[in-house]
């Protein structure tokens, strides 16, 4: 009987809320020209901190495909263990200098690299020391309530416990800080709430894959 109760409690923890009592927040993110923005991270920090403990850190992955990080932006809950499988038929050397997580995975292929635990909230910029144009982002969220916008600029934060939240938006190319996007939003189980953000985005300068600087034949 105790095992059954523990299993049921675990299921609730993983799901984040009891069905029927959960709320939803629908988000639309556009840039200052009205274009829909993909890969924007939306996080909701509950006013009541106990709500922030309703999930356990999952195991996640950022792949490497065609010499690019996939996905380009990944959101994980703080404490998550992230694997970096390499689906290319070559070796990569993944690293980050970001204060939120400094690490280096020496040259590896396949699934040889050990997972990395992201134990501090913040933005982690990923790179590959062999292929300089490879760049990716891991947003380590302080809250388990987060989502990432699709190509249509939309994201849904589901299974939110009803209550007050501070909601913020982050994007790799945003001109101003994430804090400038903070809003107080109240959600309840009666129906989904919605909100729209307009971000000022700067050009995303990246090391080019093909460049006049690359010779002989390789950067």
């Amino acid at each position: 009987m105790n095992k059954l109760i523990t299993a049921a409690a675990g299921l609730i923890l993983v799901c984040g809320a009891i069905p029927g009592l959960a709320a939803e927040l629908h988000v639309l993110v556009k840039d200052h020209r009205g274009r829909l923005v993909a890969d924007a991270v939306v996080v909701a920090i509950p006013a009541e901190s106990k709500n922030a403990r309703l999930a356990k850190p999952p195991v996640d992955a950022v792949d490497q495909v065609d010499k690019q990080f996939v996905p380009y932006v990944k959101t994980v809950f703080v404490g998550s263990k992230v694997h970096f499988p390499n689906s290319d038929n070559i070796r990569h050397q993944v690293y980050s200098f970001s204060p939120a997580k400094k690490f280096e995975l020496p040259l590896y292929g396949g699934t040889d690299a050990p997972p990395v635990i992201f134990d501090k909230p913040g933005v982690v910029v990923l790179g590959c020391n062999i292929h300089d144009w490879m760049v990716g982002y891991i947003y380590v969220s302080e809250t388990p309530f987060f989502a990432k916008t699709e190509a249509a600029g939309t994201a849904t934060l589901a299974d939110l416990p009803p209550g007050e939240y501070t909601v913020r938006v982050w994007h790799p190319s945003m001109e101003h800080g994430e804090e400038s996007t903070a809003r107080q939003i109240s959600v309840n189980a009666d129906g989904p709430a919605s909100a729209t953000w307009e971000l000022s985005l700067k050009p995303a300068f990246r090391v080019p894959r093909v460049s006049g600087a690359s010779s002989p034949g390789y950067p």
């Binding site: 070559i90 300089d132 050009p203 080019p208 093909v210 600087a213 034949g217």
Partner: protein
Amino acid sequence: MENGHASAPAVASFAAFMLLAAAPYAARSDWAVGTDAGVRHDSNVGNAQLSSDIVADSVVDARLSAYRLFPLGDGLGLTLGGDLAGEAYHRITGLNNASLDAAFALKKKWGLGAYAPWIRVGGTVARSSYRDDYRNAWDYRATLASGRRIDERWNVWAEYTYEDRAANAGPEVVPGLSGDAYSQISHNLGAYVEYSLSDRAFLSLGLSGRHGDVVSTSAPNAMIYYASRALAEDPAFGPEAYAYKLPGTTWGARLGVSYSTTEHSLLGAAFERFDTHADGGNDYTKTIVEITWDYRF
């Protein structure tokens, strides 16, 4: 060395040694295959001084490159590969040529990431075959380059190349004066900067200096004759044209813009200007305007 030039067997032996040394790393190596094509207009193909000798022409060129990277660890990587290239001239069709080269480069990065400074040493052996085969040559190049990406917008690098072009010596046109006009040895230095105008557009500026042999093609001319080290007929430019080999220094500047049409391709346009000061007051200039397209698989 043979007649001042590195011998082909020696170069082949060195290339074989490099391949053997890299063999243990081959299982996880990285192929980079690319192609590029372009069209350019050269205002002075024959490097002539007098307006009556200057010939402008347009050239279409294409190249296929295949390189293999062998990461050796600790920021060290070996690149082995080669290029197959061709050029077709609109007017001076005797200069149409195809070339095949083999190259290696050893690159060291000090530190992790795109912004780490790097140094590269490399060598290339190329064989070029012309429609008018008196220009056929072996070309040996040794390069030392170093650079650093300053930030996400600025990239700077510099390069020194020693080039030894070994062509077949032609018959002496004038007794006592070498007919080996197409063999050249030169020292080349270049400094380059690339700036990202946007996430897809790039501006580049290059400054170069070259000291060594230059070949200037003109009608018979006393001033250039007395300064020349070698002289040969150059029928690609006409029955009365002669190629004179002189020591000289060339200064060049290149301004280019490029645009990433896709993540794998780059469309570019460039303007180049070269001023050469050769012995005996034989100075000439040339301007090159080109449009290029690069694709990296």
